[in-house]
């Protein structure tokens, strides 16, 4: 389900729902209805969830409720989505944000 990378999470007893696929950094990952994008990335495992712009520091979701902004990720081409609040949908293209490579749009645009 997750390729060669070690997942951070293991699924238990959700056989009662129909799984579907998304991609994380181009690799297929199996997810279930109700999963957030953040869960999809953690199930993909391997590399850190993201790297902060400051010092490339590895970071991962902390609050899962939209408060900490540690789960920022690119979803279907849109950067800086809060992965913990976005439900995974079939075929979604999820790309990890790695420090400055996250693109020029990172940061508030007030």
């Amino acid at each position: 389900m997750t390729g060669p990378a070690t997942p951070a999470l293991l699924r238990r007893a959700k056989a009662d729902t129909v799984a579907f696929m998304v991609t994380v950094d181009g690799l297929p990952v199996q997810v279930h209805p109700g999963d957030s994008v953040a869960v999809a990335v953690l199930c993909a495992g391997g590399k850190p969830y993201r790297r902060a712009v400051l010092g490339d520091a590895p970071r991962a979701p902390y609050c899962m409720m939209g408060a900490c902004f540690e789960c920022l990720v690119q979803v279907d081409g849109v950067p800086n989505r809060q992965g913990c609040l976005v439900p995974a949908r079939p075929g979604m293209r999820i790309v990890r944000q790695n420090g400055l490579n996250a693109g020029p749009q990172e940061g508030p645009a007030e």
């Binding site: 699924r11 850190p48 400051l54 991962a60 902390y62 609050c63 408060a67």
Partner: protein
């Protein structure tokens, strides 16, 4: 969803759902907005996604919550999911949904935005692999996932025990539960609250059954833990701590799930300039309201855990009071029996909360000064040492500290560092935390992209969630 309503309710947790239904019964026009994909709030997140057998794994309370969420979904109350409130100006609420800014106008506002886990900075808490135990529980509820490798639960309060039991029910066993309760003998505290405990026998039995299940499963429970530190590189590798006898110890683990209680989520109320006070017992900001939940901003009510932590069972009752008051203000006859019942329930919940607060004291958050190397502001990577230097240079409040050190300047706008920053500045400057105060919160509540700003939908064009 229509463009103009009598009451807009922010949050579809137990409080928001109850208020919406009560107002709906009075024939008032209500709209509910929630950032999440469905009803249930934090306590019953993803309630509609589980078939009944799945929900049963998460415990009896969750099953009841799922029923309430289902009843709400069928009640016909208009609600927008995936709708994050961004800005409120007068009676106009601007919210972001599906990448577009939309708006709705409401004569009255009810904030049912719930609680956040108390953010507790300690060295290494920013490493991947360290997260809130409540945060992990949200994933567990939504996705029924467990940590892939060895993990440690750490903290104090009923929620840590509940999460441990929910993990056990999913066939996953923590390496240990590190108890950070600063109260050495909760049982002795219980003796001073006997009548309260008798009146809340169900909740007490629940707590005891959690402990029994942990023991039965052979989870080592280590109490009196202090000096918690997370160490690792790209991700967490080990958890270090001091035992009650002063000896240091460590556990190799890939995840650390930490929890020292919850505090009201005050972001929206602060941005609206509602008056808040510093609760010196719980060391957090709480909104000031009258006995109906109306804040200092007339027409804005704050209910559920957002108004002060009383828990999931109490949340619908404070919401009911606010709903009846609003109905009365709008010329309807309030339901006197519902008001009396809600007041009784809240009184009972307050009594039990006083016991919980006395029996469980967050040892890491309240016990020792924040360690210098702990990263207080995760967004801007500001350590406690840097914030201390700002205080030495004369910073006397979060706003000055922000200017001196960038603490609170990041994307989370002080949600995660604000509480700890106030406590640290108070401790180091000798000022009262009430005088130090909290961060100034400004709209938009979350940063908007330029595309979103350019693309605000007109009033009439609104999508239901």
């Amino acid at each position: 969803m229509t463009g103009m309503v009598d009451v807009a309710i922010i949050g579809a947790g137990p409080a928001g759902m109850a208020a919406a239904q009560a107002l709906h019964v009075h024939g008032l026009r209500v709209s509910v907005l929630d950032e999440r994909a469905g009803p249930g709030g934090n306590v019953h997140a993803a309630a509609l996604d589980h078939p009944p057998e799945g929900a049963a794994l998460l415990g009896r309370d969750y099953v009841r919550g799922a029923q309430a969420a289902r009843a709400f979904a069928q009640s016909g109350v208009p609600v927008a999911y995936g709708a994050s409130v961004s800005r409120i100006e007068g009676e106009t609420i601007h919210y972001l949904q599906h990448g577009r800014l939309r708006q709705i106008t409401a004569g009255r506002l009810m904030l049912a935005t719930g609680a956040i886990e108390r953010p507790v900075p300690f060295p290494g808490w920013h490493l991947p692999g360290v997260m809130g135990a409540g945060a992990f529980q949200l994933m567990l509820k939504q996705s029924r996932v467990v940590p892939a490798g060895g993990y440690v639960l750490c903290g104090t309060g009923p929620l840590v025990l509940l999460v441990a039991c929910q993990l056990l029910a999913l066939g996953s066993r923590p390496l240990a539960l590190l108890e950070t309760n600063a109260v050495a003998s909760p049982v002795r505290v219980g003796a001073a609250h006997l009548s309260t405990l008798a009146r809340n026998a169900g909740a007490v039995a629940k707590g005891l059954s959690y402990m029994a299940r942990l023991r039965l499963a052979g989870v080592p429970v280590i109490s009196g833990v202090t000096g918690v530190e997370a160490k690792g590189g790209e991700t967490l590798q080990s958890v270090h701590y001091r035992r009650r006898d002063g000896a240091t110890a460590s556990l190799d683990a890939g995840m650390l799930l930490f929890h020292e209680g919850v505090i009201p989520g005050t972001q929206l109320g602060l941005a609206l300039d509602c008056r808040h006070r510093w609760d010196s017992d719980q060391q957090c900001l709480v909104p000031v309201t009258d006995e109906w939940g109306e804040s200092s901003r007339a027409g804005t009510f704050i209910v559920g855990d957002a108004a002060g932590i009383l828990g999931a069972d109490a949340a619908p009752h404070s919401a009911m009071l606010a709903a009846q008051r609003i109905a009365q203000q709008l010329g309807h006859r309030p339901d006197a029996r519902a008001v009396a019942a809600a007041r009784r329930a809240l009184e009972q919940a307050s009594g039990f909360r006083r016991f919980l607060d006395a029996a469980y004291r967050p040892g890491v958050a309240f016990g020792t000064p924040i360690a210098d190397e702990a990263m207080i502001c995760r967004c801007e990577q500001v350590t406690a040492a840097t914030l201390r230097a700002a205080v030495r240079d004369g910073a006397r409040g979060p706003a000055q500290a922000k200017a001196f050190s960038r603490c609170g300047m990041g994307l989370c706008q002080g949600r995660i560092c604000g509480n700890a920053a106030t406590r640290l500045i108070a401790a180091d400057s000798g000022l009262d935390a009430a005088a130090v105060g909290g961060h100034h919160v400004r709209f938009p509540l979350k940063p908007l992209s330029l595309a979103e700003l350019a693309d605000e939908a007109p009033q009439t064009e609104q999508a239901d969630g």
